[in-house]
């Protein structure tokens, strides 16, 4: 019962803050609502027993990605955007579509078969020394080695892209 209450709290706050992110007139307020949203998603990860993911959610998303968002917001010229209306004219159509989507998902959700139960159950993670982060490390550095190395290439692309975009005058 208590777990359901916690889940309901996180779910309601996540939905409300996501609406506020897109409905705020001031983009800086949007970013701050998104900060609250990220913290509540971290709470949801904790309830899934993904402690490492919850910590990463706060460090990377709330700490680093939002800084980037804030920089982009400050780089834009915001005077016109703040004066304008937050919702465009297609708002009514978007709302109807969103409600329709919610009805379809909620009515078909129970028909989906649950996925196969893997090796890494909650009890197994709990019994391992080092817990969550040790299991993630073991899986990532043995089984999913190639995706891990690909991640470094993607980060390299991000560095080069940012420099090419923002550094016009190249003295080489």
């Amino acid at each position: 019962m208590l777990a359901e209450i916690f889940f309901a709290y996180f779910a309601v706050v996540i939905v409300l803050t996501s609406i506020l992110v897109i409905a705020s007139r001031n983009p800086v307020h949007s970013v701050l609502w998104m900060l609250l949203l990220f913290f509540h998603i971290a709470g949801l990860y904790l309830m899934l027993d993904a402690e490492f993911l919850a910590a990463i959610q706060i460090i990377i998303y709330a700490g680093a990605i939002l800084v980037l968002f804030l920089f982009v917001v400050l780089l834009l010229n915001l005077k016109e955007e703040i004066k304008g209306r937050p919702f465009s004219r297609i708002f009514v159509i978007a709302l109807v579509l969103a409600i329709g989507m919610a009805v379809v998902i909620s009515s078909t959700m129970k028909l989906l078969p649950p996925g196969p139960v893997g090796q890494y159950s909650m009890d197994m993670i709990r019994a391992t020394k080092g817990g969550n982060s040790s299991i993630i490390g073991r899986v990532m550095y043995t089984e999913f080695l190639f995706p891990f190395e690909i991640a470094s290439t993607i980060l390299l692309v991000a560095i080069i892209g940012a420099i090419v975009l923002a550094k016009k005058r190249l003295r080489s």
Binding site: D49, V67, F71, G137, S152, L155, I159, A162, L165, A166
Partner: protein, 123 residues
């Protein structure tokens, strides 16, 4: 599935967050109850040490901040990958060391590129 399990080890953090929120809201509410209310238009002006404000407070920031922010994000993500690596380093051993060196060398290429393109210089 969420809604089935309570991370009870995190109760102190929950209490901490609740106290922090209560203090923040409590100060604002107490202030709005006890303070004097004498509004006049000068109070809404931005305070510039007694001078009249010159220009808009919002102006476009230099795009150089964006490079710094982007580099910060990239190396922050790299540092996060080091954490589970350090935890399992003892059990995987030399193989894990080689993996991480490949990962870091690829990122150092980006670092050297940023350095050579003078992304760290401010002119």
């Amino acid at each position: 599935m969420p809604g089935k399990y309570i991370p009870s080890d995190y109760l102190p953090i929950l209490i901490f967050l609740m106290v922090a929120t209560a203090v923040g809201l409590g100060v604002l509410i107490a202030g709005s109850i006890f303070r004097l209310k004498r509004p006049y238009p000068e109070k809404l002006m931005p305070y510039e040490s007694g001078n009249l404000p010159v220009g808009e407070p919002r102006y476009r920031f230099s795009v150089r901040f964006y490079i710094i922010a982007m580099l910060f994000v990239v190396f922050d993500v790299e540092a996060v990958f080091l954490y589970p690596w350090a935890v399992v380093f003892g059990s995987i051993g030399f193989y894990a060391f080689v993996e991480m060196m490949v990962f870091i060398v690829i990122l150092v290429v980006g670092y050297v590129y940023a350095w050579k393109k003078e992304a760290f210089n401010w002119d």
